[in-house]
Amino acid sequence: MELAQPVLNGDRLALARLLSRVENDTPEGRLALDALFPHTGRAHLIGVTGAPGTGKSSLVNQLAFHLRKQGKRVAIVAVDPSSPFTGGAVLGDRVRMRDLAGDPGVFIRSMASRGSLGGLAATTAAVTQVFDAAGFDVILIETVGAGQSEIDIARLAHTTIVVEAPGLGDDIQAIKAGILEIADLLVINKADRPGVELTERALKTMLELAHPVRKVFRHHGQVMELSGAETPDSRLWIPPVQRVVATEGKGIPELLKAIEQHVAHLRSSGDWVRRERARLEAEFDLLLQETLVSRFISKIPSTSLDSLLESIQTRKTSPREAVYQLLNENKD
């Protein structure tokens, strides 16, 4: 069944079906992606990541709810983990998104990570392309509950929101490498809970270390100036720290303003174009590698591959030597 055209026409059933084809990486899904590609590149992709239980789904729910009030069409891609043992998954993000039910301007799709470790599924990027082509203005991407290195989202999204909650860790956690570094916006959810000041201070300290700014302070009664970066670079984006209580919708309008400011910054600094280009290049590289490898392997008789693997296993040939040997024998 041809699905690309109905998707462009706004057919929701066709959209749902195409998302499955794309998620399963079927030949039909690939063809439709090719057909849809000229229609992509319009949506604003917002990633929402953070540790399990910080309230990512509730935040996404509220963001979508408020974006709808601005008349924007919103797609949500919510990723939850697959079991490494059975491959099954319970995808529970919709439970927090009840406010969006019955709104034809919202489309929520749950995805299982299916063995990917970067916080997204292998086909999440392709799924967002389908939503983009289908005319959604904003695509909210919720990652699996992320620890310290699930940072694929930063490559995919234009704006990455990292969600923290009070009581999760001290300032040492905040200066570690990883997920906090990818934040364009930092959100402290559950800001009505005790410990919110500590969390905020830890995050702001982390940001000041990363982005030194001019500061004036008093020391023994004298006004002193602590010089950081000489002239604050207007192209430099310093992630704001926003307090919200997602379940009550507190702080959401302020967060949306910060998101708008980030978009304006990306546009004016040229980062929007740079990010898009980097992402498309990475996608091209990956596809080129995959295609070359599968084309190359398909030409090699499986017996010669088997004997080569055998000689690796018996430690006669190192894996690297084996690769060179294979490449030298199969030049064309």
Binding site: L13, R17, S20, T86, G92, V95, G102
Partner: protein, 134 residues
């Protein structure tokens, strides 16, 4: 890549006990299926909409309130209206025996009461799916 069976597990109506639904969701997960869990107090409209967006193969409804003869036909009707007549619907909960034949006539693929073995539910879902062209 092997195609995953996608199941929507929902609790329509007003009773607030979702332990059974969670047990089944967990069992289906362990059977390698992808279960979209939507939680309590869903209207038939919410369920049909979620089934559409998620492009599921199966909808599992847990109903303990006795309102199944009102809720189930409505869900089936909405699925059909959305072009999803291929979706197989299974029901669990407190369903009097005399209602089962009528529900099956309406198109329900399976009805399960308290104590039904999850292995049976899994086997029935797999059988029902393999009979449907994707």
């Amino acid at each position: 890549m092997e195609q995953k069976i996608r199941v929507l597990v929902a609790k329509p109506g007003l009773d607030g006990h979702d332990r059974g639904a969670k047990v089944v969701a967990r069992a289906l997960r362990d059977a390698g299926m992808e279960v979209i869990y939507t939680g309590l107090r869903q209207t038939p409209e919410m369920i049909a909409e979620a089934a559409l967006q998620e492009d599921v193969d199966v909808v599992g409804l847990s109903i303990l309130s006795g309102a199944h003869m009102a809720l189930v036909p409505r869900v089936l009707e909405l699925l059909k209206a959305n072009g999803q007549e291929h979706v197989r619907v299974f029901i669990g909960g407190i369903i009097p025996d005399e209602d089962t034949p009528r529900l099956k006539e309406l198109g329900v693929a399976g009805v399960y009461g308290p104590g039904a073995p999850t292995e049976q539910i899994i086997a029935d879902i797999r059988a029902a799916i393999s009979g449907v062209a994707a």
